[in-house]
Symmetry: C2
Subunit: 229 residues, 2 copies
Amino acid sequence: MSNQPKAVVLISGGLDSATIMAIARSQGFQLHGLSFDYGQRHRFELQSAARVCQANEAASHVVFPVATDIFRGSALTNDIAVPHDRSEDEMGDGIPVTYVPARNTIFLSVGLGLAESIGASDIFIGVNAVDYSGYPDCRPEYIEAFERMANLGTKAGVEGRKITVHMPLVSLTKADIIRQGLSLGVDYGLTHSCYDPSPEGVSCGKCDSCQLRRKGFAEAGATDPIAYQ
Amino acid sequence: MSNQPKAVVLISGGLDSATIMAIARSQGFQLHGLSFDYGQRHRFELQSAARVCQANEAASHVVFPVATDIFRGSALTNDIAVPHDRSEDEMGDGIPVTYVPARNTIFLSVGLGLAESIGASDIFIGVNAVDYSGYPDCRPEYIEAFERMANLGTKAGVEGRKITVHMPLVSLTKADIIRQGLSLGVDYGLTHSCYDPSPEGVSCGKCDSCQLRRKGFAEAGATDPIAYQ
């Protein structure tokens, strides 16, 4: 039996979630990875999530299916074209078409259910309000409101085992995230960021997510270990 | 094309949710029922939910599957015995063993995703803080915290189409709920409340839920149209 505190870590298989898992590990938590299969086009990220959990010796990794028809209306799940080669100004303009309705709310809610089930009081999520400022559900005030709601709506919260939602990346630039991850030994070669990969899983290099990743590595003065088309 | 405002109505097939669907209908909403298949033992309630949606001429009814392993640790999904013949004092003592971790949070989150997807700003939930005071996620302060979080975390909220979570039953007794439903023409014969029905779906009459239902009908001076074992 371990006395390690448990943490639920929401892990997509991308760069940010690989970094938060390393951060949770460095803080001494027993890791329980939670990924979502919501019919996303970039399903390679689920394989990456499994690899990242394995590399971090996670105690468990749950892939939770989410029925996709609830998410109609987003470019990540439907036939709306993923935008390529957008300038940063364009990326920062309004809510992106890749926004999925209530995504982080659903993911955090399932994370909360898993946390209660296994006796964890800590949930890690890799939201970032710097690079993706268009997503309302990546803002710190939203996460804080979720945490408040979670403590009112759960047995854990009512009984005084406060639920904490950690968002260690929220105010970091992509370069800062990469620097922190590299200092913790994250192998970014296991991760997958592309919204629009080839059928073999090779990243496009041009979607918003690839562009932000490449720029982050460049600014961090580091080499991105993954291949691009 | 209809100009009717749309509402997502969380519907379990029980007495309370049949009542809120009738209330939402009486307020002029186009109804979109949302039920959850979370491996509950009382699956007859899903059939009841479909019948209630049909009786209310709902525009749609989605049954959303929720992977059950997230919910381990509750008497509604596992092998913990459902308590029978408890006094009301016993029912009111602490958080019931039938509590499912983060259930309403997950249900409301999926409801929020559906609402955004179809362009609805209103969500109805049949929580009640009188008869089931032991559930932390049935309290008005929890629902209000969810609503606040929802408005911070969604495109709809950010763009000023305020999300409202309606809880019309929250401070009503079971008898009041039944009186209101009967005045709106609810056919309670379509509903299902039992936690522990026979294999044929006949209600036990003895679990907390059956007891509260029977007492409610008695206090309302009305006849419960369903059969008991």
